[in-house]
Symmetry: C2
Subunit: 195 residues, 2 copies
C-alpha cells in the first residue's frame, strides 16, 4: 500500500496514549509498533527516532490541552467559573480506573534528569499553559495578581495530578483545592453543575 500514507494524526494519538501511560523509557519501540500497527521502518522514516515520536506526542498533548482550556474558559459564564470547572474535571478524572495523571507532569519528572531537548520542550509547554491562565485571569485581575493566581493554580493542578493516584477520600481533595484557591467562585460553579 505504498503512496497511501498512514494517518499521521491517528498514529500520534496512539503514541500519545502509550507514552502517557508508560513513559519514555517504559514504552519500547516494539510496543509503539504494536500500538500503531505500523512497521519500524515507517515510524523511523516519518519521525526519525523514538525521541522524535515522543516529541510529536508531547506536542499533540500540549496543543490539545491548551485548546481544551481556552475553549472551556471562553465558553464558561466567567473565567473563574471556567477554572473551577476545569479543576473539578481533573478531580473527577482521578476517580477513573485507568487514571493516568497528566502527560506533561509525568514527562517533567521522568525527563528532568536527562536535561535534554525533550525536557526543555516539556517546560515550555507547561509554561505556555501557565501563561494562558495569566492571560485569562487578566480579564478580571491586575497583571501582578493574575500572575500570582496562575502560579497558585498551577501548583494546585500539579498537586491534584499527583494526589489523584492515592485512593483516598475525594471530598477531602476537593476541599483542599477549594480552601487553597478561595478566590474562585466555587458556589456559582456548583450551582451551574446542578442545573
Amino acid at each position: 500500500m505504498a503512496r497511501v500514507q498512514f494517518d499521521r494524526e491517528q498514529v500520534i494519538q496512539d503514541c500519545t496514549q502509550l507514552f502517557w501511560q508508560q513513559g519514555f523509557s517504559g514504552a519500547s519501540m516494539q510496543k509503539v509498533v504494536q500500538a500503531t500497527g505500523l512497521k519500524p521502518g515507517s515510524l523511523y522514516l516519518a519521525f526519525g527516532s523514538k525521541e522524535g515520536l515522543y516529541q510529536a506526542a508531547l506536542e499533540h498533548y500540549a496543543r490539545q490541552s491548551q485548546a481544551t482550556l481556552s475553549q472551556a474558559l471562553e465558553n464558561a459564564p466567567s473565567v473563574g467559573e471556567g477554572i473551577c470547572q476545569q479543576l473539578l474535571r481533573m478531580i473527577e478524572a482521578a476517580e477513573k480506573a485507568d487514571y493516568c495523571s497528566c502527560f506533561l507532569v509525568k514527562s517533567q519528572l521522568e525527563l528532568a534528569a536527562s536535561g535534554g531537548d525533550l525536557h526543555r520542550r516539556v517546560c515550555a509547554y507547561i509554561t505556555e499553559i501557565e501563561d494562558l491562565y495569566v492571560e485569562y485571569l487578566q480579564r478580571d485581575y491586575p497583571q501582578d495578581q493574575a500572575r500570582q493566581y496562575a502560579t497558585s493554580l498551577m501548583m494546585h493542578v500539579f498537586g491534584i495530578r499527583v494526589y489523584g493516584y492515592l485512593e483516598r477520600d475525594r471530598d477531602r481533595l476537593l476541599a483542599a483545592v477549594k480552601s487553597g484557591l478561595p478566590w474562585l467562585p466555587w458556589d456559582a460553579c456548583e450551582q451551574e453543575a446542578l442545573q
Copy 2:
C-alpha cells in the same frame, strides 16, 4: 575479600540516589553496578532482583523522610512552625542545580501504570507520611480538621515537588504556598529564620 560483607547501608544509599535521579526504567543494572562498585552476583545474592533493590531504596528513602519530618516537628517551637520550616526547605531545595523532586512522587508517577507491588508500597509510604502529619496536627486541631489540613498539606507538597522544576520566580511559589495554607504561622516561622 569473602566473608567481609559489603556495607549494605552504603549500597542502598547509592542505589537510592541513582534510582531517585534516573527512575526505575532509566537506571540500568549496569549503572547500579557502577554506582555501588559491587558485581552483579553480589547484588543479586543480596537483593534478589532489580525490583528488590528498588524496594530497598524506596524503604530507605521513606524511613529517612519520616524520621526527618518527625524530628523537625518535635524540635520546632510548634507543629505549625515546624511544618512551615519543612515547606520552606522544600522550596529552597528546588533552587539547587541538581534538584531531583521527591523520590516517592517520581516513583508514584512512573510505577502507577504497572500496578505492581512496588507501586502499592509507594502509595503506602506516602499515606504513612500523610498520617504522620495528621498525628502531629491533632495536637493543635480536632481530628477532622487535622485530616483536612494534612490533605491540603500533601497536595501543596506535591505541587512544590513538580513546580520546583520550572525555573520561575521562587517568591511566587512561596506566596502560592502561603496563601494556600493560610492557617500556618508563617510570620512566626520567618522571624525564627532571621534570628
